[in-house]
Symmetry: C2
Subunit: 267 residues, 2 copies
Amino acid sequence: MTVISKALTLLDQFSETQPEIGLSEFCRLSGHDKATTYRYLTSLESVGFVEKNPTSKAYRMGPIVLRLAQVREQTVPRKNTVIEPLDQLAEKIGETAHATVLSGDRLITLANRDTRRYSTRVVVDISDFPLNATASGIVCIAFGPETLMPSALETMRRFTSTTPTTAKALHQAVDFAKAKGVAIADQTYEEGVRSIAAPLFDQSGHVAGAVAIAGLVGRMTPDRDPEAARAVTMASLQISESWGGKVPDALQDLWKRNWGNPSSSHI
Amino acid sequence: MTVISKALTLLDQFSETQPEIGLSEFCRLSGHDKATTYRYLTSLESVGFVEKNPTSKAYRMGPIVLRLAQVREQTVPRKNTVIEPLDQLAEKIGETAHATVLSGDRLITLANRDTRRYSTRVVVDISDFPLNATASGIVCIAFGPETLMPSALETMRRFTSTTPTTAKALHQAVDFAKAKGVAIADQTYEEGVRSIAAPLFDQSGHVAGAVAIAGLVGRMTPDRDPEAARAVTMASLQISESWGGKVPDALQDLWKRNWGNPSSSHI
DNA sequence: TCCCTTTGGTTCATTATTCAAACCGATGTT
DNA sequence: AACATCGGTTTGAATAATGAACCAAAGGGA
């Protein structure tokens, strides 16, 4: 822990529910003493990371972060940040991995990557993912905005004999995802393809999309589910972080309980 | 200059044109020695302010700034940040001040504030500012996106006898603004009202709106223009900063040359 | 009114970090 | 083979951060 990291973790105290924080409260929240906290805050203020409410003398998030976020968004677009985690995921499981982004009530492909491990592999060539028929769709309904379920119920299409096309079947699939933390779709979009998906979170703290692995039923068998789920949740952690988001603790706990530690090897 | 401010100014080196910077280059850019720069960067990395490209080992803006910007945007909305500078502006000149935001090719009122100095004062009650007939509109055409001029030429309406309604007249007004750094509208929207406007810049570095002062012709006489221009440009500096933006150096120079120092008293 | 608490802000001897220059090993270039 | 440059590490003298104690001011009760 250097001075820099200590000072910057002060900024984590700000949130939508706690926009202004006074000196004394900062001391309590951060655990540092008053003099140190004061010096940190005035330093942060001098570079625009916090600003002081002149009347209440409380501190709030400064304007410079807007500029920095703009640079981040411009120089490290979301699409680029998913490539590496997707490659790792595809490589680990030996199947095709893809990431999608939620745009309103639609789920759009962001990127997909496969491995060369098998000569036959799944090609994911969907631009607009049906919410009811894909693991990515189900997991977004389960953990995303409330509006998704009614929207999905309205536009349900049948793709295979096992596509959930009734409200009951859809609720069942969503409830499974809510219980397990990931969605599993067994040939609901295409015969012979089984896939597992986990939700992605962005800087707003909400679901921003999904990451999934899709493979042939012969290889993506249920006994490999734990391994695949761990890999998919690992990818979700990585991608969500690079989007400035964080997988909610409750969901991380759910994953751990159901699938064990997501291969806690490296970052 | 504390450690914190020194470390954080490292982040200013990143830009849209320079998204990744290596250690040696950072030393050159920041002027610090290698060991210090390295420690600063690893500290910044540990809290997510920068991240390292694993192959090139160069540093780039980290994802945490996305979250911080979200908090800033949520807790300190733009509308709130203009109130205080507007009040100061209105108080200093004794007329009505207002701020507008550019949304596509339209200029929308964000807030307006007046003083009690005079019993008669201008009430600005426009929701959609005509680009050709207001000082705010002219200054946005002059310093904002290229698309504004054609859009303005298309929708030119006449409000008073002096409203610029020909391409020639509009270009003349815009050229004046480009030369002076502010736009002056003498009864072009409403008889008896004269106003001066300066552009506002946001985190993207582009014009995001305008701030203006509007008063009765009898009081807002040309001999008070320098005073009013200084006050308006001062307000622009404050508001732009609070939006994570920065008034371009070229424009600041222009202001200084034409109107002198914008009352360089306090921040 | 007085007393007590809490607020933001400051001081100074002690302690930890920073600095600059030299050094490593790896990766090109000439 | 010689050279330059890269990211990263080490060194002890120089410099900065630290935190308990301290201020002044602003409430809040009684």
